[in-house]
Subunit: 407 residues, 2 copies
């Protein structure tokens, strides 16, 4: 199902870790409701605007990018766009102008509703929706938030918005298999049942106590060994550009889970071939601080055949008739050989096919491996105490400004 | 013009560096020709497909992203799309389907023409253009390559394509002010004269021998001091998401220039606010291996005003009437304070306005600082010997496969 390749010797053979199987436990009723609303969005809108930051959008964006075409024509279906992940006034201004030309639904996702970035975006978008759709805006805004408490829960109750629940025991970066991830993914036309089934299979396979058969342990132990040897950066790489956003999700997962108490590997993402011609020189011959984990899906839908040319001016006729995806896979092997020769340890994660099932499998694999890895480091995989620091400084400065303006 | 803020004490006060003023020396005739063809592309096409990898597209993409709207409606003008920067068969397949619905021009950019990624993409796209446009394809393909030699030069001569020259003494990552960058930028509707003028002003300001007044030296010396103190990662950050691709250009510039002889700071890019909720925890409290350089443009066109609400349920009325861009700027100050408290040294690069002139200024600033910085490290700022390693392995494997297939 998932193959893990590594030549790194590890001293561990087992390690107790917290159970995360409940992170993938949507009920049938919930899935049915998600599927229904996803269908309604597809009937009534061209754009689903997802308002959220961090774990509230990185997972959905990762899956949607990985499983929808690179270039979408108007016929494709609902376009998912994100807001509240930045505070650029220009972004929001130009987004609203673009939305003027489309029919829209909004899914605002926040556990508390009080995180500044999505709260500001939602304040602007809520007003926009009310001015544009009037009373119908109440149908077109869907809220995903805590079951019991928080500002967003109160707003949803007051306005009568339909509501999905973020389970209180699931943190943002582990929430992809809850409505946080599932509603936008379903609206984008992706088979959420297959996605969840893949994760269920991973949960089953990766609870195997025979560690030699458990790739999540192998990956976690290997990267911990490298950390102890003094490596400070892990590069997550793949050769299929639509996996870029999956890398970004992984970056949060590992960065927030491990980056505390002055510990942790810095998780950095690279996208090949582009980055071979950007940071490839550094990886090959720069400071020896990094190792690399390659993700590879053996089968990718849609391909291009290299044409034959009569003149063969570029000298590439030896590749004529071959599949570009196969050539891409070979370039992955070339990169692994070259980087290993350059003293960059390389691990490989290989899955059979780029589809909803295997993306679900991979994401659960990473969640499991992350919990193991943070436990080895002796840090709490589930908190993020440092994220508050900049928020406090920012709010202090904003309130000070507000006082000055009032005077 | 450009302000540089750093509290890092440096031991250097001067350092001899190679001159790069000739990297910005397009002639009037060349600029006139670029402007003419850019106009022709806007009259006859909806899409300009730029085929190139590394320095052949990262600069143009950086400028175009930084200076065009986040969301483009059909009325906007020419859409610039890239190919040859990856080897995904799915990407190329879906790209061609999308191109079927648009009128196209192609700009293929490669010094030699023999780099595998763009060469394969061009082989496919050339055939596509000939099948679709027949003899007119010769007018719709523009080549940017070496003046004298290389496969692409030969192809252009044979087919009668119009041609621009990559000066032989300018390496890819320094080529943004040559036709490599200028033609796609002009086609995207950006004022290339202002862009070049900004760089000329930077060239003039940054040749100042009074080092206290020269921010390029200050930046290079500061980062070198931090490198010597044991920091291994530089984060380049900004709060305006459309600068993301400028970060990627910077990553190649510094990574390829310095990452050799097992030396160099690892250049890593972050995009705020998104990454504050992804890797922010690690920056604040993880392994102490990084420092941060913040880019800020004081004025950004297009903005959003925070609306007032009667109920103030989210408690944000204290920000009502304020500009989102101003709030964003305050969040930058909050981040700098928080990260400095977390023992992450922070430098700031501040420019007055996000426009063609100041982006040109900033890019020349980085090129100058990079040459200084690599010289301090005692490495050659202009070569990239390690980039060949994976290419050789890949071509070996591909040729071996080809033999097996023939048998």
């Amino acid at each position: 199902m998932l193959e893990f390749h590594s030549t790194i010797q590890t001293q561990f053979s087992s390690h107790p870790v917290p159970d995360i199987s409940h992170y993938n436990q949507s009920t049938f009723d919930e899935l049915f409701e998600i599927a229904n609303i996803a269908q309604e969005i597809n009937l009534k809108a061209q754009v689903l605007l997802v308002i959220g930051v961090g774990g509230s959008f990185l997972g959905a964006r990762a899956v949607i990018d990985a499983l929808t075409p690179y270039f979408k024509t108007d016929a494709y279906g609902v376009e998912v766009i994100y807001a509240g992940q930045n505070m650029s006034g220009a972004y929001l201004n130009q987004l609203l102008k673009y939305l003027d030309t489309k029919e829209i639904y909004v899914n605002v996702i926040s556990k508390s509703g009080s995180t500044m970035e999505p709260a500001l975006a939602f304040r602007v978008v809520k007003q926009y929706m009310e001015q544009r759709y009037g009373i119908e805006s109440k149908l077109r805004i869907i809220v995903t938030t805590d079951a019991e408490k928080g500002i967003l829960k109160e707003v949803a109750d007051k306005e009568g918005y339909r509501r999905f629940v973020i389970p209180s025991e699931v943190g943002g970066r582990y929430s992809i298999f809850t409505p946080v991830g599932l509603l936008p993914i379903a609206a984008a036309g992706i088979d959420i049942q297959a996605f969840i089934d893949g994760a269920k299979q991973a949960e089953c396979d990766l609870s195997n106590e025979n560690l030699e058969q458990n790739p999540a342990y192998q990956y976690a132990f290997s990267r911990y060994e490298l950390y102890k040897k003094g490596y400070s950066v892990e590069l997550l790489a793949s050769f299929e550009p639509r996996l870029n956003k999956l890398h970004e999700w992984w970056k949060q997962l590992f960065g927030e889970s491990e980056g505390k108490e002055y510990k942790g590997l810095y998780p950095s993402t690279v996208n090949y071939s582009t980055d071979l011609h950007a940071i490839g020189q550094f990886i090959q011959e720069g400071s020896r601080i990094m190792f690399e984990t390659l993700i590879h899906f053996e089968e990718v839908e849609a391909d291009t055949e290299i044409p034959f040319t009569l003149d063969d001016m570029d000298g590439l006729n030896y590749l004529a008739g071959r599949s570009m995806n196969a050539i891409n896979a070979t370039s992955k092997d070339g990169v692994a050989l070259a980087h290993e020769e350059g003293d960059v340890p390389v691990m490989k994660i290989v899955l059979p096919k780029l589809d909803a099932y295997h993306v679900g499998y991979l994401m659960f694999f990473f969640m499991k491996a992350c919990v193991i890895s943070a436990t080895l480091l002796e840090v709490n995989p589930f908190d993020q105490p440092g994220v508050e620091a900049y928020k406090q400084k920012m709010v202090e400065l904003l309130k000070k400004d507000a006082l000055v303006i009032q005077k």
